[in-house]
Amino acid sequence: MKRLPLILSLLVVLALVMSGCNSTSSAPTQAPQAEATQAPQKPFRVAVVMPSSINDLAFSQSMYDALIAVQKAMGGPEAMEFVYSDGMYVVDDAAAAIRDYASQGYDLIIAHGSQYGSSLQEIAPDFPNTSFAWGTTVDTFGMPNVFAYEAASEEGGYVNGVMAAKLSKSDVLGVIGPIETGDAQRYVEGFIAGAQATNPNVKVNVTWTGSFSDVSAAAEAANTHIAAGADVLTGTAQMVVGAIGVAKEKNVLWFGTQADQSSLAPNIVVANQVYHWEVVLTQMIDLIQHGTLGGKAFTINLANGGEVVEYNPQFDLPQDVKDAAETAIQDIKDGKIKIEVTK
């Protein structure tokens, strides 16, 4: 009895050792696997490291969806294959993953999180023939094999703000952000600018939850905004799903960003600024295939189609609001509207 664990463990070790011997033959059955590439024409191979999960309806999902779109456009897994590590919120683990992918000879390795930049800066020089990309920023470290990408999130934020100001009856809007910096801050500043340009009397209240994951903090922030009179809400990062749940229950309107959040609450989600990273990815892949491995920074925005304001088809948006939004979009594209963001 007392020896049981020992005996068991020995058995397991034995099993592991024995199976380890013939496992090489079973390995290639795995679908998108690094080692299993003896296809006749070599597909373009992408690896991506992401902080949250691929189905977060926010930052990570926007990249995952984009990769799926690129894969489809390029002609399926035979032409382009990709692997991913999601849930890599530990910066150090992400670094190990990036290095590992690089040593496996991927053509493009995407570090999808601004917290990964520092690690990339260490790793990229060791793999001069591999192309790396990271975001969101414009900093390529001056390295010839590093691309950078970012989203002009203030543009869609501005458009959302225009619509929100027109739809609000109380002239109070509520914004829920994670921590007050980067992509989130740009979106919020754009939203405020759009709202106030549309209606100078509108009041935009902003709360930051201090976390990207605290769903219940986001929900209570939504409750507080509603108690303070807001009848239109917006927010950014993956924890806003909590706020959307509250908005749905209290029947106040919601504007999304990063990914399409309409499915969460079809009755109250008005529109989403959706990131289409495929615009940037396609350019990068093209450059890599023609021998340029990096050194360039990309920005997705409304003009280049990397950001699209997608209206929720199930929400009955008044025509004048939609017209105002479309005008704003056109003006931003034409450069008639310039949105100031804190630098």
Binding site: S9, Q33, T181
Partner: protein, 385 residues
């Protein structure tokens, strides 16, 4: 010979429990339609398969060991420190400040000063709950949980505000990170991998903590207070002071782990808004490592390596068979539960041994967890058997 075998079996027990947990994990993998053999092979290769893999494992083990050493001290003193995450952060903040301020000082001096600063930072963040416990009756579990949350917000505030990388401050992306430390402020690498001097420092400290706990008066008193505060008070020990000392030192080692993570791995502080982004959860996992190591500094060394290997290998497994990272987290939980449950067999064996030959009992290694009873009436720091 016989004793040697006993020790070996004791040491193998956690390993066996780990394997048992992985066996349960294999069932989970089968449900995910993943071949467990392929998956676990990837885990092994990822943790030990190459020089680089071993180095990564040791890099991962370093903060676990350092936090674990602190945990050894506090748990021996019967104070529960679950504030390792916050202590790592505050240590790292102070240590990073040193490097960012003294930019034209020689590297070796800055690194040394940074470590001292990190040690102090962690000591402050651990010492506060210590003082609160000793003098205000505030339970340390409550205060350390709260202090973790406070440290995270402090870090977010500093890194997006006063301490932000000037280059990032000028860009719209405004990544919440500090400037990168100059090249010569980096901890030297031991081999051409990411393995840095910090691993060696942690190793040396493990022996120093062992000496501290079992060969110095302070260490003896911390343990005595941990075993029986009432008896210690009668023996004239200032119990409150040693409660503070235990938490303070515990925090200090976590702070050191934080600063070494900055100077050895990341070369700057970055936040993703949570503590785990920076610490990798070492503030919690270090507790587990220390308990795997039976709250003994030397035992914590292999325990940290085992746990580090598991974390590194599991990430590799995620990449090779494309399982969600959630499975890895669940698996880690199972390993912890199984290992901590296996302790009962070690204790039973130990008791049998003690009853069969009660002549030369003792020795640091056979020591039980402080949560176990047994009065503290040993007169002297005992001699190692």
């Amino acid at each position: 010979m016989r004793a040697w075998l006993d020790t070996l079996i004791d040491a193998l027990l956690p390993l066996a429990a780990t394997l048992l947990a992985l066996l349960v994990g294999a069932v989970m993998l089968l449900f995910l339609k993943v071949n467990p053999v392929v998956a676990y092979k990837a885990l092994l290769v990822g943790a030990f398969g190459s020089t680089n893999a071993i180095a990564e494992t040791l890099v991962k083990a370093t903060p676990l060991l350092l936090v674990g050493l602190g945990i050894c001290i506090s748990f021996q003193g019967n104070v529960i420190n679950i504030g390792g995450e916050g202590q790592m952060i505050v240590g790292a903040i102070l240590g990073t400040l040193v490097g960012l301020t003294l930019t034209d000082w020689p590297g070796w001096l800055v690194i040394t000063l940074a470590m001292v600063a990190g040690f102090i930072g962690g000591a402050i963040w651990g010492g506060i709950p210590g003082v609160l416990k000793a003098y205000f009756g505030v339970n340390e579990i409550l205060s350390t949980v709260m202090m973790n949350a406070i440290a995270v917000q402090l870090m977010n505030y500093l890194l997006r505000g006063p301490m932000i990388d000037p280059a990032q401050a000028a860009m719209a992306s405004k990544i919440p990170q500090t400037a990168r430390l100059p090249m010569d402020f980096r901890l030297p690498r031991l081999v051409p991998t990411r393995l840095h001097l910090g691993a060696l420092i942690a190793l040396i400290l493990a022996f120093l903590v062992y000496i501290f706990l079992w060969r110095t008066v302070w260490g003896y008193r911390i343990r005595a207070v941990g075993k029986n505060p009432h008896a210690s008070r009668y023996a004239g020990i200032n119990v409150k002071r040693y409660v503070v000392l235990a938490l303070l030192l515990s925090g200090a080692f976590a702070g050191l782990a934080g600063v070494i993570q900055v100077y050895g791995v990341n070369y700057r502080m970055i936040t993703d808004g949570s503590s785990t982004g920076f610490t990798g959860g070492a503030g919690f996992n270090g507790i587990v490592a220390a308990l795997f190591g039976n709250l003994h500094p030397i035992g914590t060394i292999p325990a940290s390596i085992l746990f580090g290997a598991l974390l590194v290998g599991a990430n590799k497994m995620q990449r090779v068979v494309q399982v969600p990272s959630a499975l890895i987290t669940a698996l880690n939980g199972l390993v912890v539960v199984f290992v901590v449950s296996s302790e009962i067999w070690r204790r039973k064996r130990q008791r049998r041994r003690l009853s069969s030959d009660q002549s030369d009992a003792g020795g640091g290694e056979g020591e039980d967890a402080p949560v176990q009873e047994s009065p503290a009436d040993e007169p002297q720091p005992e001699v190692q058997g």
